[in-house]
Each structure stands twice: as structure tokens, then as C-alpha cells.
Symmetry: C2
Subunit: 576 residues, 2 copies
Amino acid sequence: MSKILRLNMVDKSFRWEDVKPDWQGLGGRALTSRIVREEVPPTCHPLGAANKLVVAPGLLTGAPAANAGRISVGGKSPLTGGIKESNSGGLVSIKLARLGVKAVVVEGRPENGGFSVVKISKDGVEFLPADEFAGLGNYDTMARLWERFGKGVGVMSIGQAGEKRLMGASIHFADPAGRPGRAAGRGGLGALMGSKKLKALVVDDAGADPVPLADREKFKEASRKWAKYLMEHPVSGQALPAYGTAVLINIVNEAGALPTQNFRGGRFEFAEDISGEHMAELIKQRGGKTKEGCHPGCVIQCSQTYHDKEGKYLTSGFEYETIWALGANTLIRYLDEIAVIDRLCDDYGLDTIEMGCTLGVLMEGGVIPWGSGPAAIEMVRKVATDDPWGRIVGNGSVFTGQALGVDRVPAVKGQGLPAYDPRAEKGVGLTFATSPMGGDHTAGYGVAVNLLGCAGGGNPLKKEGNIELSRNLQVATAAIDSTGLCLFVAFAVLDNPDALQCIIDMINARYGLSLTGDDVTALGRQVLKDERSFNRDAGFTKAQDRLPEFFKENLKPHNVTWDFTDEEVDQVLADL
Amino acid sequence: MSKILRLNMVDKSFRWEDVKPDWQGLGGRALTSRIVREEVPPTCHPLGAANKLVVAPGLLTGAPAANAGRISVGGKSPLTGGIKESNSGGLVSIKLARLGVKAVVVEGRPENGGFSVVKISKDGVEFLPADEFAGLGNYDTMARLWERFGKGVGVMSIGQAGEKRLMGASIHFADPAGRPGRAAGRGGLGALMGSKKLKALVVDDAGADPVPLADREKFKEASRKWAKYLMEHPVSGQALPAYGTAVLINIVNEAGALPTQNFRGGRFEFAEDISGEHMAELIKQRGGKTKEGCHPGCVIQCSQTYHDKEGKYLTSGFEYETIWALGANTLIRYLDEIAVIDRLCDDYGLDTIEMGCTLGVLMEGGVIPWGSGPAAIEMVRKVATDDPWGRIVGNGSVFTGQALGVDRVPAVKGQGLPAYDPRAEKGVGLTFATSPMGGDHTAGYGVAVNLLGCAGGGNPLKKEGNIELSRNLQVATAAIDSTGLCLFVAFAVLDNPDALQCIIDMINARYGLSLTGDDVTALGRQVLKDERSFNRDAGFTKAQDRLPEFFKENLKPHNVTWDFTDEEVDQVLADL
């Protein structure tokens, strides 16, 4: 039987708890959001003692299902002031699941004393002083933790940004090679972890039993089909493994939806230079690796190892969103410069989307010149120093806009927008506006339908159909995020009705249940209800479900504007 | 007939407009809040083109009534994101009224070009380039504007903080001696003025006719009594002229409500050193002046000229709130150090309450030591330099808390709290929580009743009576703020029923009306309704009507906590 593990960071104690009956059917995002909803006072200060950091594997995590190893991290967001679930790959999720940990709830805030490392293993839970790790970046932290606790242990850690409780701070997860390229990036949860004085969570599943399966045969059958469907789909089976997520650069640029120069245009002159195709070429030339998974059991393998000109390791998990944010959005055209910033962000523990939006705002305010990689790199480096600029840029795009008196800030609910101009991809634009997460693409990825043609395709430039699209995808995604499955299973699920049935069959076979498609939809709806009710009590209204005013400007090349009325936007999540 | 003057800052044009019928009976805060409510989109960015800066004399301003020369400044607040009215003394209000200007509405936001000075006189309206003033502090700006346009003209200006659009920036008004000691301090309206690229408004009423009075005799009779009542009351007639508002230091300290060390205690060990009594002594020794009015026609004279040890002018308008914020709150015990910071704030154009709360947060975060005047002075000086710390501290207490990851920040709706611990003065505490202005004492000054014993007195330490007290004072204050009368008339009004009748008689005699006390209350209610509906549409809910969590801590010496339930707090303005 799985348990809830509560860590008290004040007296360094822990407690195992049985899972409450109404939490039994929850996992991943459904569970983190429920625990936050029930236990965190919505009006509390995100860095105060009352906030909690919740970490939960998904419902399918740990079982032999392809791409089910994602971890959900939740809490009241330091960045948005609302509820937050941010998920990531890495090793921690599967290991927690194998140890029978349904969720870890990190509680309390030490007033004094240094950082801790908490180690969870079959032998129990240990609080260890982290003096030797405090002040280190994620690269060194993970390397030293592997040295100390054994190669291959799961690590979740923060860098200097999280230690400083900066609102752009992310939480990083060691990938199978022990590198911090994987992150629960969004919403400043690294600052929440920093406020708890938790430098790292180490999870060692040595000696743990396999995750129990109620019906082993049925599970095997469903999971075999499942892997096959994922590999058969052209996006998850071919495009992503070949070029990584950066395959989207050329596609989105062609669609006129690649935000350029702080969302001034939809096409980047030098898109080719930062494309996934070009990246794959460089990787091959320099001896990196194009196909890697962020967790064991991944059959998509969209990650990669990116080397510098000298053929030395530079960064990994080098994503489309990162490359857009630090590239097209800032007019920086050199992939190597972008890779350096990505590396710094992984090391310091900073969300790359937020940092890209922030650098755009810095350029908007004239602090550094448009397109200057060296100036951007110098600015990001300040996050790990005592320079107050580091505190400004590490706190994200809205904060930096306020520091500079700049109002052209692409953000919703305080969170910087991802790599799709909402005027030219209206489906994801509605998700940006209405998701309880703030500006977020993963919460309802209209791009899959409108730009990649899944589920018969849609029109990214017109309003028609996009309200329903965003709603349906937000509901479905909330359910997917609760299973531990990677978001990139969505392509297969959208195009193949059998794929959704596979997920349901796997859940049923894992737990001995008989859920239907309706139950899954109901789960997604319930997640959104939990999240929206938290935000409501935290003081959010429809007024926060709005894009910045400048999206009324005309966007080239399609000459489109953000033309939804407030009433239309409010329809997206009106009836859950 | 009075007119509305609209300034278009983009094309440097202006337009005179007749006053709409339903604006006729409004003035001061009632008018600025109504114009903002009707014309500013509540969800707009405060520094964007859609926000407006509205300046309005009160209903009685310009007429020969004692203490009626206050000016109201309104807009969407860069600091709180809600509606803001901040009022001030100075010369501008009376001169606008005499020129027949019911309100100035500053519109549009220039994308290019430098700052402007706008001059309003009998001869018309002129836009002048402000290149020679840009970058100057308020002291130099005012001095040079008097040099250029004549001694005694009205000046409303911003310093470096407003030019940089920092959220703690205030708008300053030349006092009768041409010094910037008077400010519409709160809510960052200086940043709004900066975003409009308006460095200063100059108002010259030379040659203007006296303000018309519908019934001269009745007005004279009422105004004679009015001045007498003000001077007869011990607070406005004796305490304030003798010691300035800083007379409150010893009183509030004695009451255990003087917030000390970032609201950790209610008594300051060195209160005597920063008291009004001590200040008056120093002023006398050093050749300053204890009794000055902030505008012609003031009979209270709570202002002063404060000299340094060498007997040279240091600062003026040296208020209780300022001395508390920069003194007891930061543990700085030397009045001369506090005076230097006050002087810098007046010069750069910074709200002293916000800066005091900000310095407390900086000390809380360990950036500068508690009680160090020199360190605080150095930090404030950075606001006028390129040092990014200046951008942090100039943006106020909440921003600085976010920069440092400090959650002990005494603020409501983003605005730093004034000089009364809400646990030990629960009446004003309820005003802090519920005022549409954010943490503000002037919006419903329970202190007058609970600590100064007006209207029969009240109990500052108990809940009983304070919900009604805060509500009634908020309604009454909204009406008073619409007349142009100084808040310090409240003592006489609270203790003498004839005084309120005097105000009504003066308004009636000025405009030929026959208003009653009920009409005045209705006006106050309507102002609050306008303001609250703006905030609601801007996205505020009850969740923002809350004090920070740390006020649940016990406060010495009275061992009191903030013990109102949310439901009780929500009763304050539930039925308007």
C-alpha cells in the first residue's frame, strides 16, 4: 500500500500516513492540486510557513508503461500567487513509486539553520545537513550527491536561484546521466523549496519491490499496444526523436506564430539557425547525442546531449521552448550562445521560458541590446552573484518589467508566456489566458491540433472552434498530468482513439478498477475545479484571465490580432 | 463656469470641456475617482497608454474657507493595481480652482521624446520641453521653475523616481516657500506621471478672478465659525501647531501601537529622541520654524522647517508618518538621520511611508543593519543613480520583499502600512485591510477616536465598535477628501456637530445648493462604491482585504493579536 510521506522541515522529522480514501484514485497533478487545495491557505504568503511543497508520481508511474515516469510538483506559486503544478522527467518519480510513496509533502519553514538534504530509501528517511552543497549549482550538487549516495539515485534539487527564493527558480531532476537538464520549471517552485531550506531530495529505490499490478496480463497487453501507438505516430515516433522538440522552430515559424523580439512579430529571420534540424546537424558533427529519454521507459527520446565547438559537453534537454525564449524572442541567433544560457539556467535552477521573457523585457527597457548573446549571458550569470541585477532578472519577466517601468511584458497571472503567439495560435492563446497555472502551453496544447494537424486539425488564426479546443485539451491534460504520462503522448491519443483506451486499461489493470473514458474526463474536470477554487480563494477573478493589452496590436505575417471578447474567453472554463 | 482640462501627452494638445451634469457636484477625490472609474479600463497596465492621471481641487478649494486647499490626484495605482486617490497640500489646488479648472486629466503616453512641462495660466495652456529639468530632483526643479515662471507659481512635479516609473514614486507640490515637502505620496502616482512624460505642471493664477460664491454673506458667516472651531480644538488648535504631526510619536508609543522594527513591537525604546516635542526643541535651538501651513488659508500650521546642526535648512513637512517609518520601524533613532532621508525622498520624489517599510524589509533581509542611518541613507541615494538596488528599493516594500525572498512585509494590496500597529489600534487596522486604497491610515483614521479620544473615544485593543468606526470614518473621509479640506479638520468635526454643519453651509453658499448631512454621507458612500467597483473589475476580491499573516503574532506591550475573522473584516464595507 502506498503512503503519504510528510517532512517537517522545522524539527527535521517525518511521518508516514495512510492515503485518505478520497485521495486513493488520485496521482500526479490531481493529487498535488488536491493536497494544496485542502491544506494550503489560499491567501498565505507563498514563501511563508503555511505553504507546502508537494511531490507526487503519477497513477501509472513505476509500472512498466512507456513514458509514465513524470513527476508532479505542486504548491502555491511564488510567481503567480495561485496554485501551481509543474511536472518533469528524471529518476525521482519512478523511484518514489517503487518505494510506495504516493506523495511527499514538505511542510514548515525553518527560521534558522542551514539547508538540508533529505534521503528516502527502503531503509527509511534521513535528514542530512547540506552545508557542503549550499551555494552550489545543480550540476555540482547532483554530481556530489551521486558520489556520496551512489550513481543512479534519484535527485531533485535547487540551485542558487532557489536558495535565494527567486520567483523564476525551478526545481531540477537528475536525468539518467545525472545531469540537471530536467526541471519542474514553471511558477517559481524552486523558491518554495528554497524557503523550506531543502536543497535536495535524494531517492534510492535499491531493494524495492516492483510496483504491484492487479492484473499483470491485462497490463502487459495494454502497455505493449501503448508503446506501439506512441512509436507509430509521426510526431512522437519520428520528428521528436530525430530533432528533439526544437523540430517545432521551423514549423511554428512557418505558421507565423513564433514570437519574435518580445512578441513583435511571428517570424524570426534566423529561424533556420536555431532550428531542430540545425541542432541535430551540429550534434552529429560534434559528437553529442540526438536521442535520449528523460526517464527510463521513455520510447520517444526527445532529449539530447549538445556539445560545444570543441566537442565538449555543453548542455542537455535543450528544448524548443528554451531555444525560442532565449533565441527568437531576444533576437539571439546563435545556438551556442543560447545553449550557454540554457546551461546556466539548469545550473542555477531557473526556468528558461521565464528567463527568455525576462531577457526580452531587459532588451525592451534598453538595459542590454537586442540580439546580444554575450550581454544576455553576463546578465544571467549575475543570478549566482551578489549583484542586485541577479535578484531582478531571477524574479522573472513581470518583476523585471516593474523594475524598469516597462509595460510590454508577455505574461498572464505573472507567468511569462511560452513560444506561441496567441494571435496566430488562438487555441493555445485561450489556454494562456484561462489556465489556472498562468501563461502555460502544456495546460492545453492547442498547437497539437492547430499547427500539427492532430485530431483532424484546426484553424489557429480564427476564433471558431478554439474555445472548445482549449477547454477539451485543458480537461484532458489535467487527467494526463495525473497519470505520470509525458505530455507528448497527446499526439497519439488525439489521433488514435485506441490509445486513450490503452491508458484506461493500464490504470484499471494496475489498480483493479473499471474506469471508463468518462471517469478520466471527470478526473480532469475535478483537477481544474480544485485548482480554480484555490485561485478564487486566493483572490483571482476573471480579470486575471486576460492577455496583456499589446496583443491587440496587429501581428505579421498573417495580420491577426487577439480578437476574443472577454465573454468568449470566460466561456473556456465556464462549465466544468 | 469651471471646466475640465484634458492634456494629450502624445500630440501635446489640450482641450477644454464642459463639466458633465453628473460630475457637477463632485470635487477632489469624488471627481478623480469618478473619472478614473468611467474612463480608465480597470485591467489596463498602470503605466500603459490607457491609464490617466487626474488632478482635481476640492469642492471648497479656492473659496475663502480655512484649510480647503488640498489637491486630489487619481489614477490606476502602479503600486496597488487598484484605484488610487492621494491628496496633498501646496499651491496648485487653489490656483487651479481660481482659474476655473475643475480637473486636469492627463492622457496618452508618448512613445518617444523627452519630458514636458505644462503651464496653465489665464492666458491658456502651454506644452514646453523639459529637457533642462529632466533628471533633476524636486528641489532643483521647483527652484528653477520659480526662477523661470515667477516666485509663487504652483508647481506639481516628479523627481528621479517618477521619471524612472518606480512604484514608490510620489508627486510633489511646492509649498508656499517653494519647497517640495508636500506630496501626493502614496500608490506610486509619480510613476504614472512619469509614464506620461510629464515632469511638472505649473499653475499661475495671476489675474484670475476670485472663486464665485453664490451667497457671499452666508459663506463668510460659516467660514468664520469654521476657522474658529478648528482653532478651538486642542489637537488642531494646539498640539499640531506646537509640535507638528510628530506629536503623535509619544502618544502612539505610550499606547503601545508604534510599530517598531518592522512591526515586531508596539513601543520604541528611543521614542523620545524622535518625538515631536524633541523636534520642536531642536528647531528652536537651530533657528528653524515650528509653525507653517502647507497651503494659504491653513489655520492649523502643522508643518515646519527643520535645520541641521549647523543651522542650515535640511527639510520641511517633516511628518509623524515619515519619522515613524524611517525611525521606529527601522530602529534608526537619530532625528537628523531621519531628516536626511526625508529630504532625499522629497527630492527624488519617493513616498516616505513606503520607503520606511522598504528599509525595514531590507533590514529584515540582512541587506543593511537594523538601526543604521548611514546605511539607509546610502541605499536611498541609489534611487537617483544607475545602481539596480535603487530600482529595487524605489519600487516599494512588497517588491523589495520579493527581491529578497522576505515574506515579513507589512503591506495590504501592495502598499506599505502606516504608523499604527493594527493589533493595538484595531480601528485603523480595519481601514488598512479594507480601504480600496490599500494599506492607508488617512482613509478612515480610527486613531482620532481610539487613541486621541475624539467623539467620546473608543477601545483600540478590542474588536467592539471598530467595524462601525472604520466604516463610518471611511465614508466620512471620502466626503471630506472631496471638499479639498485637510484631514485634520476631522478632530473638530468629530467633537463638534456644528463643525460638520459649517462644511455643509459653506458648500451650499458656494454653489447655491441646499445639501444636508445625508447628502454628504451619500457622497462619501458613492465615492467608495466607485472605487470598490473599479477594484472589483481590476480583479480584486475579499482575499485582498486581508492583513499579512504575521499580525497573528502577539504584540507587546499589550499582548494583542489581529483577532478579527475574515467575516468580520468583510462587514466593514459590506453595506454601503
